[in-house]
């Protein structure tokens, strides 16, 4: 319940920022930071493995409601990303410093590819070269740069929210 209470306003704000602010800050032909994706990944890797899945669904729905794309597309992509990230639970390398970076690299690619496939299935037209080179690539690079501070903030937030269960 605490996961949802914290996640809902954070993810709604992140989705609104992606819609109202980040389009003005796109770089390298169209890529921008996927804040909702980073929040979902950060919260999952901070140790709330099940909560990360819920954040993926909620954050994705917020993005979908503000988008002209099909409702559920971002939600499905983010749930998939959160589930893949949650596979780190119980692994020895779970605390490795490179895990958030590797998860963001993989998660960003998976997120964009899933979205592209869903949009293609629903008949949306786009240039795959531009989508991969002009959107996926710069977005992935920006996401990798920003996951470190976001992960650190969310890890501390999770420690504050779940002081006992944080290291299980």
């Amino acid at each position: 319940m605490r996961t949802l209470l914290i996640g809902l306003p954070l993810l709604a704000l992140a989705a609104v920022i992606e819609s109202a602010v980040l389009p003005d800050l796109r770089v390298l032909g169209g890529g921008s930071v996927n804040v909702v994706l980073l929040f979902t990944l950060g919260w999952t890797l901070a140790g709330d493995w099940n909560g990360g899945l819920l954040w993926g669904l909620l954050g994705g729905l917020c993005l979908d409601l503000l988008s002209g794309g099909p409702l559920g597309a971002s939600a499905l992509a983010l749930v998939l990303v959160a589930f893949i990230a949650s596979l780190a639970e119980g692994q020895l390398w779970r605390s490795h410093i490179l895990l958030p970076l590797a998860a963001t690299l993989l998660g960003s690619v998976l997120y964009h590819l899933t979205l592209l496939v869903i949009l293609a299935i629903f008949g949306f037209t786009f240039d795959w070269g531009q989508a991969l080179g002009g959107v996926l690539l710069p977005a992935t690079l920006l996401n990798i740069v920003l996951i470190v501070p976001i992960y650190e903030i969310l890890r501390r937030l999770r420690t504050w929210v779940y002081p006992v269960a944080v290291n299980k």
Partner: protein
């Protein structure tokens, strides 16, 4: 059940919900749900957009003197209006001859009614180009209404909630607008390009296209009213072995600087669906 199995089950459940939304997300039964969820999001978006504009305003490169800046903005607006006026007058001159026979029909058409709408967001996905404005069904906005600026056509409303509407710009790759060249009166179709450009296709080879020629909506298809400026020809792609030629256009409206638009609220898109319904086969008379 192990923690991994629990989580896998949760992930499958959430994925099923997402897929169900993908399949049934556009059904009218979900409209009240979408509206109620969008209301707080829209309020938040309006506040964040206003805050962001206030923050970036000092960093927009403009003359340092406030009076000069204001004067410059006034002159730009006036220039834009005058250019649109010149185009309109030229169009009126051409249309006068054609419209003489249609004058009764033209007089029966009411003047356009406009509603001003402010841009409060763009599509979060860089792959899509939809624009989000702060007017919805509560203000009388309906799907299909054309959207314009003082410079020219912007697009049409494709989705409406009670407080917001989403507009598909003409530069969207999925957009197609029936168009007419102002000088030769030849028709074609203006389609959006990946990257935000415009191209006019299906122009007959007989037309000698010149860069700078104005392109207007033709009104064919009933999706847009006729005579709205779409843009100007910037380059011509004519190949002798092609049946038709193609032209790249510069949009009249500056899509990167849109802040407010006019929605034509009294225009009803034509519904051609009855023409495409199957004609019932006549029943043969039965012999007595």
């Amino acid at each position: 059940m192990s923690r991994f199995q629990t989580r896998t089950a949760l992930a499958i459940g959430l994925a099923v919900i997402s897929i169900a939304l993908l399949i049934f997300g556009t059904t009218p039964a979900l409209e009240p749900f979408r509206n109620s969820v969008l209301w707080p999001l829209a309020t938040l978006q309006q506040n964040v957009a206003g805050l962001w504009r206030g923050l970036v305003a000092p960093f927009i490169p403009t003359p340092s003197d406030a009076t000069l800046r204001e004067r410059n903005a006034q002159l730009e607006t006036e220039n834009e209006q005058l250019r649109a006026e010149v185009v309109r007058l030229r169009e009126n001159e051409n249309q006068l001859r054609i419209l003489t026979g249609l004058i009764d029909f033209a007089e029966s058409q009411p003047e356009n009614d406009y509603l001003v709408a402010n841009l409060i967001g763009r599509d979060p996905s860089p792959l899509l180009t939809y624009l989000i404005f702060d007017r919805g069904s509560d203000d009388g906005i309906q799907r299909g209404m054309p959207v314009v600026t003082g410079a020219g056509l912007v697009g049409r409303v494709v989705e409406v909630t009670n407080r917001l509407c989403k507009v598909q710009p003409i530069t969207d790759p999925a957009s197609a607008v029936a168009a007419r060249l102002q000088t030769s009166r030849q028709t074609g179709v203006v389609v959006g390009q990946v990257g935000g450009g415009l191209a006019m296709e299906f122009i007959t080879q007989r037309v000698e296209l010149q860069p700078g020629e104005i392109v207007l909506t033709s009104g064919l298809g009933g999706v847009f009213p006729p005579g709205i400026v779409i843009g100007a020809v910037s380059a011509v792609q004519q190949l002798n072995y092609e049946v038709q030629q193609r032209a790249d256009l510069t949009p009249a409206a500056d899509f990167n600087r849109i802040e407010a638009v006019l929605i034509i609220i009294n225009f009803k898109p034509a519904d051609f669906s009855p023409f495409f319904q199957a004609t019932p086969t006549p029943v043969a008379p039965v012999a007595p």
